[in-house]
Amino acid sequence: MSEIVHPLHRFIRPYVTSTTNCPGCGNGIAAQAILRAVDELGMTLDDFIFVTGIGCSAWIPSPFFDVDVLHTTHGRPIAFALGIKMGLPEKKVMVTSGDGDLAAIGGNHLIHNARRNIEMVVICLNNGIYGMTGGQAAPTTPMGLKTATTPYGTFENPFDISELVIAAGATFVARWTTHHARQLTASIKKAIQKKGFSFIEVITQCPVQYGKKTGSGSAVQMMKEYKEKSILLKEAAKLSKDELHGRIVVGELVDKEAPEMLEEINRMKKKVAGEKA
């Protein structure tokens, strides 16, 4: 009997034999989408440097992807990634992180690097909860939801992270759910090729800390809900704000051109060198 090997297994660090993710976690879908995108573009992982922060989704490439990975402090991966991109501009730099890491503790780095429009890909696994620490409210948790730190329901307005990043100046922004694995892969491919700051929000299920505690159900139930609630950007444009309440607008929200920071730096350096001569 021949051994069946997953076609993406060659991208996995040899010593890694098991996953740290809980059963039903959306991380696996995102991980496969990333690796498929790399593979379909004809690239290898050696073309990339991965950077992560703290939280479940930081463990997508760390240690699983067989590539240079910098697993950093909570909220700061984009700031570390900026330094890496400055040193290795020819490499693709990708950050995978969660909504807590990117939109709460690390919000400042997210908006400022979107503003800088430095070429990198940031994939935000948005599960609306702090999973690793046991189900506390995130800045993305829907209003009224009972969590470990909001036992009487949340009383804060949630962030729309994609809208935040768009407003800050990112040149490629897409939102999909884990139900949209193929669309997600296609958007990651575009993001990798984009000369600018690319942000992809992946609405993902945390069946353990979100599903169970809020009554949203199992991973399968949550993904079914994503399917039902999702509406393509094109269709959403026909509906009013009230009609869109509770829906998840998916698609490529922004794909535009703007000056990219590294290109601007190179232009500046040439000017400085010219002045010198």
Binding site: T73, R76, A79, L82, G83, I84, M86, H112, K276
Partner: protein, 384 residues
């Protein structure tokens, strides 16, 4: 001269400018920072000078991202630095621990000012002397240098880069607004006369499975990014290969000890003091700007026939315990001079008190340097 790394010559130069020139001379490629008094001149100079030599300075959104960006760039093989003051260091402390934990060469300059909190930004107060050693969480060792002049702002910055590269550690410059804003003669030697150390890097072609890139007391070669080492670099507890281990306490013990021993084992190479206490009964112990007042007081005392000497700590960290004990054995009285409420005093006293009488002399007003006359009065008092 414009556009060359080493601006050889004799200058009347501000300490902060000399620091930036020292960074360039040492090979700094990338710096990131956030404006703050009294350190801003370093950023200003780096922003002008680094692009001239193919490098780059980035102004970040805060000090947290400043240190994060330089650590990221260091992992691509660049020599890196950030400069700030106390409030900025407070924000950097978490990522300082990161740099220590994953063994990242970088230089952090603290041009200290009067604190706590916003305090008095232009006051030259060495207010954060223990912060680099104890500020970040966990057990660790740190290297810090304490310049006393613009010339040393240049020289110590070069030395800081060399230590950072040699030991794969963050290295602090603990300057203050006195020294940072002081203008004095600065001599920048020819490039060939400046000793430069470059980090050991894993050999290209090494099998990624066999890269032992961490936790060697004698400093593992750095498996920098982009060269096919497929390095897994995590600030979680890890082994010599960088492999995370979150369950075995012996792995944590090894992680903590090896990082610390990297510095402690090489204290002899790192620790620097300035001794001038031959035959002295009273020794003035100080560092940084205050050491200038101590020196002057010692000269005047000797002119008056009093047997007074000085010991200056150039590296407050790692703490020069042996050097202080050796001094205390020979002295009868030790006076510790600091321009604060006595931050290093308990550490110095702990080493010296079993051999000599140790006392502390702050300035009349914190932020003023001790008046040499006041020091002389104290010398006469302790000699009674």
């Amino acid at each position: 001269m414009k556009g060359t790394r080493v601006q050889t010559g004799k200058y009347f130069m501000m300490g902060n400018t000399a620091c930036a020139e020292g960074a360039l001379a040492a090979g700094c490629d990338f710096a990131a920072g956030y404006p703050i008094t009294p350190a801003t001149e370093i950023a200003n100079r780096l922003a002008e000078r680094l692009p001239q030599v193919g490098g780059m300075f980035l102004q970040m959104e805060d000090e947290i991202s400043s240190i994060a960006a330089i650590i990221g760039a260091s992992w691509t093989g660049k020599k890196v630095m950030t400069a700030t003051s106390g409030p900025g260091i407070s924000l950097m402390l978490e990522n300082l621990g990161f740099a220590i934990g994953v063994e990242t060469p970088c230089v952090i300059v603290n041009v200290q000012r009067g604190g706590p909190t916003t305090g008095m930004p232009t006051a030259g107060v060495p207010a954060d002397m223990v912060q680099p050693k104890r500020g970040s969480h966990g057990d660790y060792e740190i290297i810090a240098l304490c310049p006393a002049s613009p010339q040393e702002m240049f020289e110590h910055t070069v030395l800081a880069f060399n230590f950072a590269e040699k030991y794969r550690v963050p290295v602090f410059i603990l300057s203050d607004a006195f020294v940072g804003h002081m203008r004095e003669e600065v001599v920048i030697p020819e490039a060939g006369r400046i000793e430069i150390v470059n980090r050991k890097v894993t050999e290209i072609g090494t099998d990624p499975q066999k890269v032992k890139g961490f936790l060697d007391e004698d400093v593992a070669p750095m498996p920098i990014f982009g060269r096919g080492f497929r390095s897994h670099v995590t600030s979680s507890c890890h082994d010599e290969y960088g492999k995370r281990n979150l369950s075995d306490l012996t792995a944590l013990d090894n992680f903590i000890r090896k990082l610390s021993d990297k510095i402690l084992k090489h204290k002899e190479d790192i620790v620097r003091v300035e001794r001038d206490y031959e035959g002295a009964e009273v020794v003035l112990v100080s560092y940084g700007a205050v050491s200038r007042a101590a020196k002057m007081a010692a000269i005047r005392a000797r002119e008056q026939g009093l047997p007074v000497g000085t010991l200056r700590l150039i590296t407050p960290w790692p703490f020069p315990s042996e050097e202080i004990e050796e001094m205390a054995r020979k002295a009868k009285k030790v006076i510790v001079l600091e321009n604060n409420l006595g931050q290093m005093y308990p550490f110095i006293k702990a080493e010296a008190a079993c051999h000599a009488d140790v006392s502390f002399l702050p300035p009349r007003v914190i932020g003023e340097i001790q008046d040499p006359e006041a020091i002389l009065n104290r010398i006469r008092e302790v000699m009674k």
